[in-house]
């Protein structure tokens, strides 16, 4: 007796084409970075300034003691006694002459550029013929 041949379904069914599996890392939730906002510093400074101003204004003013003149006056430097000659006309004339001499010395110009003599070209420079 012949065995009927029965075609058996294949044991390797066609596998659907899939992507190769890669190892997946767990998702990381990035926290937003905390950045310092310079506006806060500005506002803080204004608040501190206003607060400081109020504090200073509310404080009681301490009055300085008014100075009272002492019984002993401050000693002034001794004025040197002048000799009688200092008021004489000869001395006053001398002072005037010295000032005038000093002015004359300061105004004198030794190297006066306006007086420099001119220099001229002398040889004519034609070839001897």
């Amino acid at each position: 007796m012949e065995q009927p041949t029965v075609s058996l379904p294949s044991t390797n069914p066609v596998q659907p084409m899939t992507q190769p599996q890669t190892p997946q890392s767990p998702p990381v939730f990035q926290k937003p970075k905390r950045r310092f906002d310079p506006r806060f510093l500005f506002i803080l400074l204004i608040i501190v300034g206003i607060g400081g101003g109020f504090f200073a204004g509310s404080g009681q003013k301490t009055e300085l003691p008014t100075p009272t003149p002492s019984d002993t006056p401050t000693p002034s430097p001794k004025s040197k006694p002048m000799v009688p000659m200092a008021t004489e006309s000869a001395y006053l004339e001398l002072i005037k002459n010295v000032a005038s001499l000093s002015g004359a010395i300061n105004t004198i110009q030794i190297s006066d550029t306006t007086l420099s003599p001119p220099t001229v070209e002398l040889p004519l420079g034609f070839p001897n013929e």
């Binding site: 002048m82 000659m85 010295v98 000093s102 010395i105 007086l115 001119p118 004519l124 034609f126």
Partner: protein, 265 residues
């Protein structure tokens, strides 16, 4: 009365202005003449190089014309400068009459030479003539420069001498004043004053040494070499500056002493 006031104003203000204008106008004339000379010198140089290059009759004639013009302006420049120096001598209050006359004679001789030199210009008929006339000034040039430098030194030395005379007068007055009132000062102060007077006198001695050096150096101004004249003139200027410095320092000492002698202690 009004006439007297007008005359007084004229004497006080207008006459000094005229004398001042005299030297300053001479200087302006000298500067103007310098420009004229420079311009004619440039034209001469161009004409000369063209003549040397082309040797044509036209370039020769142009060179001759430009040479004559340059020679005339050159002599006129030197002449105008001498007249400016003459005006400076006239205006100098520091220089005495005999000295003034000496320097004016020196200048007048040079002006005469230049006038004669300028008079030769129309007779120049060739470049050879021009060379010969130019040579006349060249051979006299050192003497001319010597006269100019001597006059400048004379003017400046007169100013220094006038200041020294005033310095000595003030020193003498102060010395006499101190001697007359010696009893008003404390003994220590008297010795200090004596020392200061000595230092003031020393400054004048140093000034005198410098003027002696200037007199010696002045002889070199009469040299026949132009470079020696210029070098000597520079040395004299340096010596005069040093001499002036001594008088200046001495005057500062005088000022200190005059302030100090007001007080007895």
């Amino acid at each position: 009365m009004i006439q007297k006031v007008i005359i007084l104003i004229y004497v006080l203000f207008i006459i000094p202005t005229i004398t001042f204008a005299s030297s300053s106008s001479s200087y302006q004339e000298y500067l103007g003449q310098f420009d004229v000379y420079r311009s004619s010198l440039n034209e001469f140089k161009v004409a000369r190089s063209e003549y040397i290059k082309f040797k044509t009759l036209t370039s020769q004639q142009t060179a001759l014309d430009k040479t004559k013009k340059m020679l005339t302006t050159r002599s006129q420049l030197l002449r105008v400068y001498l007249l400016f120096l003459n005006e400076k001598l006239n205006e100098s209050k520091a220089m005495d009459a005999p000295q003034k006359s000496l320097y004016q004679t020196l200048i007048n001789n040079e002006v005469k030479f230049l006038n004669n030199h300028i008079a030769l210009m129309p007779s120049i008929g060739s470049l050879k003539d021009a060379e010969s006339v130019s040579q006349q000034l060249t051979s006299h040039y050192n003497g001319l420069q010597s006269s100019m430098h001597q006059t400048i030194v004379g003017l400046k030395m007169a100013e220094l001498t006038a200041i020294d005379t005033r310095y000595f007068d003030i020193f003498t007055t102060m010395y006499n004043l101190i001697q007359t009132n010696k009893s008003s000062f404390a003994p220590e102060k008297q010795s200090i004053m004596e020392r200061w007077l000595l230092q003031i006198q020393n400054k004048r001695d140093l000034y005198k040494q410098k003027t002696d050096d200037i007199t010696k150096e002045n002889a070199a101004l009469k040299s026949s070499s132009l470079s020696e004249i210029t070098a000597s003139y520079q040395r004299i200027l340096k010596l005069m500056s040093e001499a002036r410095q001594y008088l200046s320092e001495g005057t500062s000492f005088i000022q200190e002493l005059t302030t100090s002698i007001q007080f007895g202690e």
